[in-house]
Each structure stands twice: as C-alpha cells, then as structure tokens.
Symmetry: C2
C-alpha cells in the first residue's frame, strides 16, 4: 500500500536530492582550493574556535559537528599532523581527550572564513529572498527534528 509521490512532492524531492548532491561539491572545492581544507575540517576548526579555551572533548566536538567518533579521530589526526590542532589528554577523566585549536589553526581559520562566507552567499543565501531564508530555516528545523531527534547538532558557522 505504498503512498507514491504526487507531482508536487516529486518535484520538491528531486530538487532536494539534487541540492544535497551538488552543494557539498561547490563548498568543498572552494575551501580546498583556497585553504586546503575540507568543509568538515573547516566546521571542526570553527567549532573549536568558539569553545572556551578553544578546546573541546572529542565526543563534544563530534556531537557538535555531527560526526562519528572514528571519523573525528581520523580528521583530528590529520589536522594534528598539519599543526592546526593539538590533542591534550583530559586530566579529570583519563579516558577523555581534548582537541585544542593551535594558533596556526586559528590563523588558518581566520584566513579561510571570508572566502567561505562569500561562497555560502553566492551559492545559496543570496539566491533566496529573506522570506525564503526563513522558510528554509523552518523546513530545516522540521527535517532535522526527524533526522536528529536530540538536536545535538549546533554546528558553528562562519559568524564573525
């Protein structure tokens, strides 16, 4: 008894799928080209940069960036190799590890942010009316409610 999609739904879905498929590419390529960063790496650095002491537990960073721990561990290793992040064992809980943004990481982030924001504008936000931005926000909230029930997601973004 499948409820197939009507024309409106089909159209909306097709477009959403296309966006989901294409958007990462344009974000990645700009960041890669200009700052040699993955979008995910950028977000991770950005989240760290706003944390107190620029430092966060791995699991907290994973929750904030919506990454699994294995993924995050690999990414942090790569960032650590490049000197952008440091691993600091947590004294309070010896199982835990803190990831800490280095000065080099901060500098890279500061350098990368304007170009990224510009890309976000030209690829998405500037193509929408203010009303559509609000609608997008609402729609996003509704969908996230289903995908990510506990809304741990609060990824930091290119704010100042």
């Amino acid at each position: 008894m499948t409820r197939w999609l009507d024309d409106q739904e089909l159209e909306a879905w097709m477009r959403l799928v296309a966006v989901v498929e294409l958007l990462p590419g344009v974000l990645e390529s700009q960041l890669k080209r200009d700052s040699d960063l993955t979008h995910f790496e950028y977000v991770a650095l950005a989240v760290l940069s706003e944390a107190p002491e620029r430092r966060l537990r791995m699991s907290a960073l994973g929750a904030a960036t919506n990454a699994t721990l294995p993924r995050l561990s690999h990414v942090v290793s790569r960032l650590e190799d490049r000197g952008l992040v440091r691993r600091v064992p947590c004294p309070a809980d010896r199982r835990a590890t803190n990831a800490e943004l280095t000065d080099a990481g901060w500098a890279l982030l500061v350098e990368a942010a304007p170009g990224h924001v510009e890309q976000v504008r030209t690829a998405v936000l500037d193509l929408l009316t203010p009303a559509q931005v609000r609608q997008l926000s609402e729609i996003g909230a509704a969908v996230l409610g289903g995908l990510d029930p506990d809304g741990a997601r609060q990824a930091a973004m290119p704010r100042r």
Copy 2:
C-alpha cells in the same frame, strides 16, 4: 569587506548544512540494508527504467543523474558485475556505450522502490506541510539555478 551572516541566515545555513550532512546517511542505510543498493545506484537504475528500451548512453545517464563519467563508469561496472545492467556498444557511434537495465535490474528496482519511497516520506515529506513542500520546491529551484546553471539535472525518482 565580508558581509557576515545575520542571525536568520546563520540559522538557516546551519540547518541546511546539517540536513545535507545527515540526509544521505539515512537514505543510504535503508537502501543498503533492504536492497544492497547505494542511493546513487538506485537513482541510476530508476532513470534507466524510465528510458525508452530501458537503455541510455553513458553520457546521458551521467547528465541525468548528475554524475561525472568516471564515477558512472565505475558504478555501471559494479552493477554489471551483479547482472543488474548490461553494457551495449552503440552501433551508430562506435565511441559510445549504452547502459541497459536487465530484467534482474528491473526486478530489484521494483522490489526496492516501496521501501525507499517510505523512507523519503518518513524522513522528509511527511514532516512538512503541503505549503512547505511547495516552498522547498521553490527554494530548491533557486539554489539549483546557481549550482547547475544548465539544469541538466532531472533525476528520476520513485514515481510509480
């Protein structure tokens, strides 16, 4: 002179990023689990299934699914190994290759479709009001206009 994001924009963007990050996962895992298909493989089979003779040139399939040719070539190779698709050299242009859906491929698609549609509903469409579905469609169109200027994208979806 960077124009930073205001609160509305930031919120909308963060949510969009989260959706773009999380949505593929839920689609992939349902399809993988129930039909051992990637979402992209599903779309490719679906597009083929609606083509005349269930057959399409590689480049046409690539355009319709929004894939690069190298990617498509690999995917078709895997599908071919599983007997879901056949490569048929094009007699008219000996450089060209046609990808053709086999009966097994058709059967798998028919079997996979209801579960996928159900997933699409529960993960997205059923969480939105009809008005939001229309808004999403408009927003998608606007963004795609920027990403995919030539709108080659017309990915086939789980229609009937």
